[in-house]
């Protein structure tokens, strides 16, 4: 027991020492200083941006990327002020923001770096297959209370949602409950269950035929039923998948962006190129987003 313990400690230390020597040699071979890239913006993207930054730093230790959240608006504001190199945004840049950047003698350049799709999930026993955005809005705001009103069985609807601090919650509120109309003040029905994790939503949807839930496409498992969604009642009902999201057919999906001041150069250009490579896009899938290719 004791011996094994010491062996582990020894391995651990030799690992650390090994790491140190390797970085030392690479530094002596390439007498290049560490360069920092400032990356700030959307809270939806922050985890993805962090994962990319970490992986990139492992591959190229000379480039260090500092990632902070704060919201899309904060990121773009920092880009206008020139305090960041790359701004993350979960919405496209507004005309007045473009004007502000131009006033500083720059031109914003947009990169679509990933896509975010929200899947609507129900219990496999529930016969409902499709819903319109309007029906989803009415269900979650409490106007529709029974599955039979949307072509299902005579069962009460149990609405499941992520907690209010999740970016998915806010996106769902804006795009589905308020149907993208920022003037609307529609709120979630107070009876909506707010679950702290994707696992909480999954567990309830799997066992409760009354439940309806939503979550990022990456969190959907085979034992839930995914609903096909249409923009209009007579429109095509589309199931979410990487293909339908990338073709713009699935209605509850958005592009995620990075913006730079002018065409990026040097390190930033290399970094953005890498982000769009299939290697970096694999991380997108791991985090529950949709890769752009």
């Amino acid at each position: 027991m004791n011996k094994r313990f010491f062996a582990i400690i020894f391995l651990f230390f030799s690992f650390i020492v090994g790491c140190n020597t390797s970085t030392n040699t690479s530094e002596s071979n390439l007498p290049q200083e560490t360069t920092y890239i400032e990356n700030k913006g959307s809270d939806t993207i922050v985890n993805l941006a962090l994962a990319w930054a970490e992986r990139y730093n492992q591959m190229i230790p000379d480039v260090s990327i500092s990632v902070t959240g704060g919201g899309s608006g904060t990121g773009i504001a920092a880009l206008i002020n020139g305090t960041v190199d790359i701004a993350n945004a979960s919405r496209s840049i507004k005309p007045e923001e473009i004007e502000a950047i131009k006033a500083n003698g720059n031109e914003p350049v947009e990169f679509v770096i990933a896509r975010d799709a929200i899947a609507i999930v129900i219990n496999p026993q529930n016969p409902v297959n499709k819903l319109t955005l309007q029906q989803l809005s009415d269900i979650y705001s409490g106007k529709i209370k029974n599955w039979k009103e949307v072509g299902g069985e005579d069962r009460p609807i149990v609405r499941l949602s992520r907690e209010t601090n999740s970016g998915t919650h806010v996106y769902f509120l804006e795009e589905v409950l308020r149907l993208g109309d920022s003037e609307k003040k529609t709120l979630f029905s107070p009876e909506t269950l707010l679950l702290p994790s994707s696992e909480g939503i999954g567990a309830e949807v799997r066992q409760n035929p009354n439940a309806i839930g939503y979550d990022g496409l990456g969190y959907v498992t085979d034992d839930m039923k995914v609903i096909a969604v249409a923009r209009e009642a007579d429109g095509p009902y589309v199931l979410p998948s990487a293909d339908t999201v990338n073709r713009g057919e699935y209605p509850i999906a958005r592009d995620l962006y990075m913006y730079t001041n002018g065409q990026p150069t040097d390190i930033i250009a290399t970094y953005l190129d890498w982000i769009l490579s299939s290697d970096a896009q694999e991380i997108v899938t791991e985090l529950g987003f949709v890769p752009i290719k």
Binding site: V158, E163, F188, P190, P196, Q207
Partner: protein
Amino acid sequence: MDTTRKNLREQIITAFIKATGYSAIVFVVVIFFFLMKEGLPTIREVSISNLMSTRWYPIEDYFGLLPLISGSLIVTLGATAIAVPFGIGGAIYISEIAPRSVREILKPLVEVLGGLPSVVLGFLGMLILAPFLREFLNLPTGLTALAGAILLGGIAIPTVLSVSEDALDAVPKSYRDASLALGATEWQTIWRVTLPAARSGVLTAVMLGVGRAIGETMTVMMVTGNAPVMFKGLVSLFLPVRTMTATIAAEMGEVANGSVHYHVLFTIGIALFVISLIVNITATSVVFRQKKRQERILS
């Protein structure tokens, strides 16, 4: 020489013990001031009518605290209704009725139950209890106040049982002997003599149990559904609720430091603090009054 050294040692130890005693007061005061400092700005930032409304949706500045307070109260009352009969009943069995050998197995087992991490109970509740309640009672969902009350009751039972068993055990044997000698049955002795004699200890046990239930966070967050629905009568027990503790736990992680929402969360903390203070003061005053009466009777 020897005595002075002894005195010195004695003094150090006394001072140390005194310090530990006072530290409890210091901690409570410090926590109270911290809560006040972070929570009081709410009064300036949010109108009273907003705080007293029945809608909690902080990202759109709806800060109605009533559904959260009512949610905590329903779950806690439900948990107390379960924990008190089971806890005191179990304590009576272990202390008064069970043979020595059974008692020596039961008591440690109950205490192990008390040490179960609440997140484990939450998992059991989410995956087993909630589906069972939904099917058994034909509810829309099993994630209800009832599920929370049952699990919190389960968490509070070991506390109530263990402390009241100690209290019952401390009742002198002569009380029971006298009662039995007067011709009382075993049940009459327990109900009329032993239990009243252990009253203050049993009450402390109940209060500790209530305190455990109202402060519990992880389990309720996992099984009560967290929907901020206002109290509508007994039916609310079978509906999802959102407790104060779950609200703080779920929202504190992401809230911007110093924002209105942040201050309101601390206001909820103050409300929790005040509620548990009221529970404790009521309990101690009841115990004191009874002690005084007992002293009068004895003198």
